[in-house]
């Protein structure tokens, strides 16, 4: 992702913060409010306008109410998930993991990754931060795709909390069994595809690269 030196931040208090902290924080802020952020802002505005124009003011107000409660609900989750991911990132035994689900891990690596996806608890905040950690630790692309596909389709927590109560246990079990091989197939496809894949890494910690 290219979001280098766009968006000049209004940093009018450069002398107050410690000289050592300043570049790190400023680079970070520049990145968090970089070009892609404004893309997101535009996306939100366009969808809000479409909602207002197509279905009218009342539904628009309902959507705004939903949005506010959703944001309030999500923020504490994100904080916890980032703490989990950050701590795992610094403590994970990289070389052992790479052996388990690295590019040399073969079919076994895909199966391990798919099983890990099923048992990973929590929502997308936890799963995607873990995925980023796995990728940074040298997991191979097939294992990464198998992991996140399996978490999305077969994640046990979502099945128990949502699928079973809303769709019925029999349907959930059918769907689970029907879908069981698919994350591994997706992982095999990802391994075979001749596509370049470079992971985004938000400002790596010095000397902490795998």
């Amino acid at each position: 992702m290219a979001m280098a030196t766009d968006m000049t931040m209004s940093t009018n208090e450069p002398t107050i913060t410690e000289p050592k902290e300043q570049p790190w924080l400023r680079a970070l802020l520049r990145r968090s409010f970089g070009r892609s952020f404004w893309g997101f802002v535009l996306f939100a505005i366009v969808s809000a306008a479409a909602c207002y124009v197509i279905i009218g003011g009342q539904a628009f107000n309902e959507a705004v109410e939903n949005d506010i409660s959703m944001v309030l609900k999500t923020i504490p989750r994100i904080i916890a998930a980032m703490l989990v991911a950050g701590m795992i990132w610094v403590m994970l035994p990289r070389d052992r993991l790479t052996k388990m689900i690295g590019s040399e891990s073969g079919m076994k690596g895909l199966v391990i990754a798919a099983l890990a996806g099923i048992v990973t608890p929590g929502g997308p905040s936890a799963a995607f931060s873990l995925l980023a950690v796995l990728g940074g630790a040298g997991a191979d692309r097939g294992a990464m795709v198998a992991y996140i596909t399996s978490w999305s389709m077969l994640g046990f927590q979502r099945i128990i909390v949502w699928d079973v109560p809303m769709m019925g246990a029999e349907f959930s079990l059918t769907r689970f069994l029907v879908s069981l091989p698919l994350p591994i197939i997706a992982g095999m496809i990802a391994r075979a595809l001749p596509m370049r894949m470079v992971l985004a890494d938000p400002i790596p910690i010095k000397g902490d690269k795998p």
Partner: protein, 172 residues
């Protein structure tokens, strides 16, 4: 709902205690990493959540449900897969749309395709988490790898239905 967040904070607390116990700056490094990720993620997440709420309102779920009956076979699976992509919201909204479909007489393979498609393409997750945390090239690789998965799931569902009676997806 709240069970999930309790588990998440339990994990966070345990890991932070483990990192602190090492007494070698691991905890500080982890905290710094968490702060970095949070600052990248939070502004994007905020916008994406807002957008998702509006788009969820725009999906005509009752209208779509009419095309998902079992006599529609593979067509129903295709429509259901396409609909799943268009639901950019969390499980509460996705599964209630699924329940609407089920009550309107959608076939089991179509429902399987819908839920599979939503679960792997859910646009809100892509915008809130996947692009900021992993980047566009991973997203591209993943989308190509799983592109056919919902249709495949529906197809397997149809084939299983030739041998077994599939349970209904409807709940009282």
């Amino acid at each position: 709902m709240s069970a999930g967040i309790v588990i998440l904070y339990g994990m966070a607390g345990t890991l932070m205690a483990l990192a602190l116990a090492r007494r070698d700056g691991t905890f500080q490094k982890g905290l710094r990493r968490a702060l970095e990720q949070f600052l990248i993620l939070a502004p994007r997440m905020f916008c994406a959540l807002i957008a998702a709420g509006f788009i969820a309102k725009l999906i005509p779920s009752e209208f779509i449900a009419r095309y998902l009956g079992s006599e529609a076979g593979m067509t129903a699976v295709l429509i259901a897969s396409a609909t799943g992509i268009a639901v950019p919201a969390g499980p509460a909204i996705a599964f209630s749309i699924g329940a609407v479909f089920a009550h309107a007489g959608a076939s089991v393979p179509a429902l399987i395709a819908f839920i599979t498609s939503w679960s792997i393409f859910a646009a809100h997750r892509i915008f809130i988490y996947e692009i900021p945390l992993l980047g566009l090239s991973f997203l591209r690789l993943r989308l190509v790898s799983v592109g056919a998965t919902p249709i495949l799931a529906g197809l397997i569902g149809i084939m299983v239905g030739w041998f077994f009676t599939l349970p209904l997806g409807a709940v009282p």
